[in-house]
């Protein structure tokens, strides 16, 4: 008798489970079958916000590094001690480095530091032994080829910021 009741309960539970699954399927399947498009997702705005922050941070970091390491050289190169002038140069370098990023490649730190290093070397060459020591030199150890406009420059005189 007790076994029969237990068996009846089990059948009832199985029936209810089946009904529940059918109802959920009829209600929810039309929603699940719609494709999700990541391009329209809200988190994309967080991603672009984060990217622009990291870009700003990169400009700030590069500018600060150059200010400490080679302010004399940069002032000489730009013809001005105004930080806005060489800050603009760093900003352009960051933009170029970003534009050069290949698909799947991450970070522009190597490219920007290569810019700083090569720029420093150029300035030292231009100003000879009398140049400011301690400018961003090769001790950073980065083997990044640097941005294209530096790779193409064969002579320091080609630099648009070089003094006559």
């Amino acid at each position: 008798m007790k076994d029969q009741r237990l068996s009846g309960d089990k059948t009832m539970t199985a029936k209810f489970d089946q009904w529940l699954e059918d109802e959920l399927s009829r209600t929810l399947t039309p929603i699940v079958s719609q494709p999700a498009r990541p391009g329209q997702a809200r988190y994309q705005s967080v991603r672009s916000g984060r990217l622009s922050m990291s870009r700003k941070a990169m400009v700030g970091l590069a500018a600060a590094t150059l200010a400490v390491a080679g302010s004399g050289v940069l002032a000489a190169a730009s013809g001005s001690v105004n930080p806005q002038v060489w800050g603009q140069q760093v900003k352009s370098a960051v933009e170029q480095c970003e534009a050069e990023l290949q698909p799947g490649q991450h970070g522009i730190g190597g490219c920007v530091s290569a810019f700083a290093r090569q720029h420093g070397e150029q300035m030292r060459t231009q100003h000879g032994a009398g140049g400011v020591d301690g400018a961003a030199g090769p001790k950073g150890g980065s083997n990044h080829p640097g941005p294209p406009w530096l790779r193409q420059q064969s002579s320091p005189a080609a630099s648009p910021t070089a003094r006559p």
Binding site: L20, T27, L28, A36, P38, A41
Partner: protein, 188 residues
């Protein structure tokens, strides 16, 4: 017959893997939240918010738990918070409405149109989520435990309690025999 396609594992912190996770999981998370909230618009809002929170934590996600269960856990927390605020709003509305006729049903409110969704919405959110995860997504007890952030041993009792209440609300056992040919419902 072709070989089944094996999805590569998600790698924490990689944006392209998060995009893939979104493509694979958004609709499923949305379905769970509709079961919990009963409203499609609210469920979409909470699902989007859950993915924003998940994206912010994507670097620290640990692959020892399924990514979708982790997402469900975040989404359920968002939904619980939403329901708490919704109750406060409802009390405010009730006070404002005192003495005035009740407005008509909101057409976007699934809970008002669909008996089962309405009954699910009246359950505590973790119970409603457990029902959808088990009986719609086919999650195991372990996966439900991860999604709900509860010990595995409490999952079965939570599902049993939810089903008892649903059975009471959904009426006579005879209706469970009925096989309908209505096809999929259109959700507004």
């Amino acid at each position: 017959m072709g070989q089944p396609v094996v999805e590569p594992a998600y790698r924490p912190g990689l944006p392209e893997d998060f995009d893939r996770l979104y493509r694979n999981s958004f609709s499923r998370v949305l379905a769970t939240l509709i079961g919990v909230l009963g409203q499609r618009a609210a469920a979409e809002d909470c699902a989007q918010e859950a993915f924003v929170r998940a994206f912010r934590s994507w670097r620290s996600w640990k692959p020892d738990a399924p990514a979708e269960a982790w997402l469900h856990r975040i989404a359920l927390n968002v939904a619980i918070s939403y329901r708490r605020h919704e109750r406060l709003r409802e009390v405010g509305e009730l006070l404002r409405r005192l003495g005035r006729p009740e407005p008509g049903a909101d057409p976007a409110d699934l809970a008002g149109r669909d008996e089962l969704v309405g009954a699910l919405r009246r359950l505590p959110p973790p119970q409603a989520a457990a029902i959808v995860l088990r009986h719609y997504h086919g999650y195991s007890n372990r996966e439900i435990a991860l999604a709900l952030g509860t010990p595995e041993r409490t999952v079965a009792s939570r599902i049993a309690a939810a089903k008892r209440r649903l059975q009471r609300e959904m009426g006579t056992p005879e209706r469970w025999d009925v096989v309908t040919d209505e096809g999929p419902k259109v959700i507004g």
